[in-house]
């Protein structure tokens, strides 16, 4: 612990107000998402608890029919916007983190493999990566989502939607990790400690994981943070387009899509609050990633 408090990275953190604020915001958001069932006043994912007559209630004002009042108002189905944002935040963060993990595992593995083994393996993996890079990742995600939805039996579709989203975003995002890890691996491979490990008869897999991997992790960490912000936005985009989270379990993107239809009619709260939440979350994570990149890059110090 002392070693960490004494490190350059912590010093850079301590002296950067942007980093401190964005970390606090991110942590608060994560806490709000994790404890959503305790904080939220209603469970917006339980259709049986909704009362349609509560629809379109303005923030802090009583509903004309039921007399109920909601902190941030309600959407067109009578869902409490505040509770829905908390639950939506849960989906957004969960999908974001899980998708990045998936992308990271695939990317690191393929990157290490192609960097260390080289030859045909490298050519095949990296050309596949190039091909995938020619498609916008959101299109790849939509393609995967569409195919997965088609093969899922209908009664599991709602439960599966989240996992399919993770798969879709994760599989569309591994290329960056693979490229960075491959580059770093190429550099590390020619270093003496790798040669030494090879000399004492370590297997290639052990060398890759035990020796090279720890030394290529810091750029991975930076990409992971920035990818997290992108994955959250990708999830919101898919849901906004209506292909992501099911309408009965709205994520932030779904809420924004619903709210967009009511901008002209004056029900601004359905769009504004989820949009602000998404904005703040993505901004905080992004700033954190930016700062981390600077802090871990010795050339910038």
């Amino acid at each position: 612990m002392n070693r960490f408090l004494d490190s350059d990275v912590f010093y850079a953190f301590r002296t950067s107000p942007v980093a401190i604020v964005s970390l606090i915001v991110t942590v608060l958001m994560v806490l709000a998402a994790v404890f959503a069932p305790l904080i939220a006043t209603t469970n917006p994912f339980d259709p049986a608890s909704l009362n349609l007559m509560n629809g379109f209630t303005a923030p802090m004002e009583p509903n004309a029919f039921t007399g109920e009042s909601f902190f941030l108002g309600t959407d067109d189905q009578g869902r409490d916007v505040f509770s829905t944002i908390l639950y939506g935040l849960r989906i957004s963060l969960f999908v974001g983190v899980a998708a990045v993990m998936l992308a990271m595992v695939i990317g690191i593995f393929l990157g290490l493999l192609s960097g260390y083994v080289g030859g045909w393996t490298e050519t095949i993996i990296m050309r596949a990566a190039d091909v995938q890079l020619t498609f916008p990742s959101i299109l790849v995600a939509m393609l995967i989502f569409g195919v997965a939805k088609g093969v899922t039996p209908v009664e599991y579709r709602d439960q599966m939607a989240i996992w399919v989203l993770i798969l879709a975003i994760g599989l569309s995002d591994w290329v960056q990790f693979a490229r960075v890890v491959r580059g770093a691996t190429l550099v590390e491979k020619s270093k003496d400690y790798v040669a030494a490990a090879r000399l004492i008869g370590r297997s290639p897999l052990t060398i890759m994981i035990r020796h090279i991997l720890p030394n290529v992790l810091s750029p991975v960490l930076v990409i992971a943070t920035i990818s997290l912000a992108l994955a959250i936005i990708a999830e919101a985009t898919l849901s906004f387009l209506g292909v992501g989270a099911p309408a009965t379990q709205p994520s932030l993107g779904t809420l924004i899509r619903i709210g967009q239809g009511f901008l002209f009619s004056g029900e601004w709260w359905i769009l504004l609050f989820p949009a602000c939440t998404l904005l703040v979350l993505a901004l905080a994570v992004n700033l954190l990633g930016d700062w981390l990149r600077d802090a871990l890059n010795p050339r910038l110090r």
């Binding site: 049986a48 209908v154 209506g242 309408a247 002209f264």
Partner: protein, 516 residues
Amino acid sequence: MFRLSTAIALVLALPASAEEFNFAVTTDPQTMDPHAVNSAPVLGFLNNVYEGLVRRGKDMAIEPSLATSWSPIGDGEGWRFVLRQGVTFQDGSAFDADDVIFSYERASSEQADTSSWFAPVSDVIKVDDFTVDIMTSAPNPIFPDSIANWMMMDSGWAAANNAERPDKEQGNYATLNANGTGPFQIAARQPDLSTVLEPHAGWWDEVEHNLTRVEMTPIQNSATALAALLSGDVDFINPVPIQDAARLQGNPDVQVIQGIEARVIMLGFDQQSGAAESGQGASDMFLDARAREAVAKAVNVPAILQTIMRGNAEVASQLVSPAMRGYSDAQAAPYAYDPEAARALAAEAGLTGQTISLKCPNDRYLNDEAVCQAVTAMLAQAGMDVSLDAMPVSNYWPELRADNFDMYLLGWSPGTFDAEHPIRFLGSTPNEEKRLGSWNFGAYSNDRIDTLLPMIQSEIDDSVRQGMLDEVAKIMQDEVAYVPLYVQPLVWGARANIDVTQRPDNFFILRWVTVN
């Protein structure tokens, strides 16, 4: 010099008198072929380009169009139509009885989507160049009413362009080009982008409009369309998002034109025994009438109308709205909302514990997805577990045709404005050979209705006919064949200087548009 400047001034003045009119639609008509697709966006638009033997006036009454008069033959063996003389198609060729025969063969061919309209027809005979006899296999008093959308195509033009039969899948020359007798002709057509119309100079009827150029732009997102209307980019949009109507009424630059559409929105059920839904095994849950009744009682339609429709629609009790001929006053009471009874019925019918798959379009009817979500929540409150799947309409119909549903949302607007129409399409047992029940996706079937339908079609006496229609309405209500929800409202928006005429079939007829 003076003359030159006058000439320039005249030339400059000309474009100002040209009345250009731009309008936005939600769904681009998928084809310009009047026989290829039987859907409201296609037929509604093509009514401006093509014409039928008869047409509907501003009050929906049938009036002469390409036929000047018609009368029954003998004892109800058919109808004789006397054709209008001196009518020319937009390419200049003349209209005569051969074009009617050709259009009959084309529109009733296997490849045509309109063939069910001609199920009662046994033969079409050319008497002379301007007289045609349409023979029916049984007396058919409402036949002229049923062919207002049967549009006449020039036989020579179709033959010259190799478009003698419609082609729904591949498309042919008639998919992108048109040659009708109507008041407007297509000057340019880019599917999903823009369609430009110009007046047909040789149109036979008196011109009411003052348009010189019309451009139709599809704008799928209704909020975007509204923004375009407010900024003046388009002069007309259909529909105005229902939530924006009230606010728009306060704006002096635009006007909101509201009415009740002929379209009834309803829930349908999979009622085929043993029909296996893909990956779900046999789903016979809605074979039991109690299960369907549970749904009927669980849905709180007034609440949907109050919030999602903002008080702009009326509760429906049967498959047609009260404005239609043959509406059953005896069956005017809608299902009563009773969640407790619904819960009990659902349990009795074994619905509890099963996942009901509800399919829903998200770009076809007003607020369709929101309505389905509300239905999902209401059924959940009555103890039914619903999995909602909303999709664009281009995926929706194939999904319904493939029987991938337990419940679905459907809107039905009777083309004939008569209660017989939904019985033919939605109430009778599906029978491809007789072209019956072609939109009865759930295969609802009742022998008595199948017996009554031909009797209704051939009955001349109005009160006897109404008696039979009442009986059908009662059977369908008692058996909960469908759950009618509400009659869809019509909300059009136009700039303040535009005069339009709104018809309950939601067809936008350009010949009644004037720009002031």
